[in-house]
């Protein structure tokens, strides 16, 4: 079975949950910007949660299905239609051979995922289907999709249950506007006053943001104490502060190491919300401690593992 790309959308890439374990070669994990949405989308489409799907950004594409298929749309609502009829988000969709799924412009956040039963099949690069756009590695030819691309869909036997994400599940997936952070490895360089300032600022996401990083603009600049910064490994969600004093949040296609001081780190439980931020969106930060960050992550994972919670 195949899907033909009639329209690619603004920026559509093949993504799964990324490739871990190659940081020492400078290879970052990449993977879906809103991994939770992809995982739930895959479960709704009858896949294992790590199957490869399409990540659409701000404006979706149009896709022609060669055969009957089961699919699901997850993440932000991009006003999709199937042969002209409105399609419900967060629900298994049954697609007839020859039907066209048109995914429009976002009504909410930055990203919408198309998951298809069987998963998108591409040549695996270091164990993952994820596209790393900057280096042109992985995914479909290492790049965003173009008109005329034909995607292979994997084989999967058996019927799929007609499932929808529960109301509680949808509430959990509503993006947060205040992201929670823990103190970063160099937060002391900014002092308590610096961290307080960071959490009081209302930031705006810059147009120059992408999967590598989200650039933020705030009312006041942050100035770390002048010390020698030695390049070191950087984590997903790290908030680094370059000379401009305006923070950059390192994102899924992050560089693996960096030489700017990091004032804070967005907590894992809020990565999904991070992936839904659009250029010009406002965002604020709230400080939590490591124990809280871990508790929130563990709670989120528990809910995700509960079919009773997720589906109806």
């Amino acid at each position: 079975m195949t899907i033909e790309v009639l329209q690619p959308g603004m920026f559509t890439t093949v993504q799964d949950l990324g490739r871990e374990g190659f940081g020492a070669r400078g290879v970052s994990a990449s993977g879906a910007a809103d991994a939770l949405a992809l995982r739930i989308g895959n479960l709704l489409a009858g896949n294992l949660e790590g199957a490869a799907g399409l990540e659409m950004t701000l404006v979706g594409g149009a896709f022609l299905f060669s055969e009957d298929a089961t699919a699901a749309l997850a993440g932000s609502d991009f006003a999709a239609t199937l042969d002209g009829a409105a399609v419900e988000m967060w629900s298994a969709i049954f697609v007839r051979a020859g039907a066209t799924l048109r995914v429009g412009a976002t009504l909410g956040g930055a990203r919408c995922y198309l998951c298809v039963r069987g998963g998108i099949t591409v040549k695996s690069f270091l164990g993952s289907a994820s596209t790393h756009v900057l280096s042109g590695l992985g995914g479909f030819a290492g790049r965003a999709l173009r008109k005329g691309d034909v995607l292979e869909i994997g084989e999967k036997e058996g019927a799929v249950r007609s499932r929808r994400l529960s109301e509680r599940g949808r509430a959990m997936m509503a993006p947060r506007k205040i992201l929670r952070v823990t103190a970063g490895p160099q937060s002391e360089w900014f002092g308590e006053a610096g961290l307080k300032l960071f959490c009081e600022n209302v930031y705006r996401v810059s147009e120059e943001s992408n999967r590598m990083g989200l650039r933020l603009a705030g009312q006041t600049t942050l100035a770390p104490a002048k010390r020698e910064m030695i390049s070191e490994g950087v984590a997903l969600g790290a908030v680094q502060v370059p000379e401009s004093g305006m923070p950059i949040i390192l994102f899924v296609e992050q560089q693996t190491t960096g030489g700017y001081p990091k004032i804070a780190n967005v907590i894992s439980a809020d990565f999904s919300s991070l992936g839904q931020l659009r250029p010009r969106d406002e965002v604020r930060f709230e400080r939590v401690d490591l124990a809280t960050a871990r508790r929130l992550f563990v709670e989120q994972e528990k809910l995700l593992a509960s079919k009773e919670f997720l589906f109806r």
Partner: protein
């Protein structure tokens, strides 16, 4: 984050390599990725498996044991570079900053057997040191939007090769025709702990090697 020193020294670097080797040889369950730096290793782990305190305890134990890990024999890699001209648009500025002739700058850059301190930034980008004092030059004030793949740059006392066409702020002094990262296999030409020597080639030789 495990810090193994507070300054860029070969001793700290060797501790990084030892810890990395130990964690690669005896992988800890729930440890998902390792990002080495000059004198640190970032350990990415599954928070469902470990609390920070638990993992810290285990890593302290690893650190103590890593003293006994033998450093692997350093691989020596020679990299051909076509210096200056369109291949190294900043060579003129680097020479001007230090009052050097182009040939002297090339001689200096290719005189050193560099250490690969770590790989970072993008796949296959090796941070090499130390650049001879006479060549130490800060980054460009405004990074280039597009640095060609293979470009050899200097940033302060570091030198390195851009494996892919990416944005970058290092001073470009030349270019190598070699592939620094193989997309087919995911292999990097350079690895942490390798030794690297550059040697000058002509534009004609560059073209030949690029075809090969």
């Amino acid at each position: 984050m495990v810090y193994l020193g507070e300054r860029v020294t070969l001793e700290a670097h060797e501790r990084v390599v030892r810890l990395l080797r130990l964690l690669e040889r005896e992988p800890l369950e729930g440890v998902r990725n390792l990002h080495p730096g000059y004198c640190s290793v970032l350990v990415k782990f599954d928070a469902l498996r470990w609390t920070h305190a638990e993992l810290e305890g285990v890593l302290r134990d690893c650190l103590a044991r890593s003293d006994g890990i033998a450093l692997p024999a350093a691989r020596e890699v020679e990299l051909p570079v076509c210096y200056g001209g369109e291949f190294g648009p900043d060579l003129v500025a680097v020479c001007a900053a230090h009052g050097l002739t182009a040939s002297r700058a090339v001689e200096l850059h290719s005189s050193v057997c560099y250490h690969v301190y770590f790989l970072g930034f993008v796949p296959g980008f090796a941070y090499l040191g130390e650049v001879p004092t006479e060549l130490v030059t800060p980054r460009l004030a405004a990074p280039r939007r597009n640095v060609p793949a293979g470009s050899v740059g200097i940033a302060d006392g570091q030198t390195g090769v851009y494996p892919f066409a990416t944005p970058g702020g290092w001073r470009l002094i030349g270019r190598t025709p070699l592939k620094m990262f193989r997309a087919e296999t995911g292999e990097s030409l350079l690895g942490i702990g390798d030794r690297v020597r550059f040697f000058a080639i002509s534009p004609e030789r560059f073209a030949e090697l690029e075809q090969a």
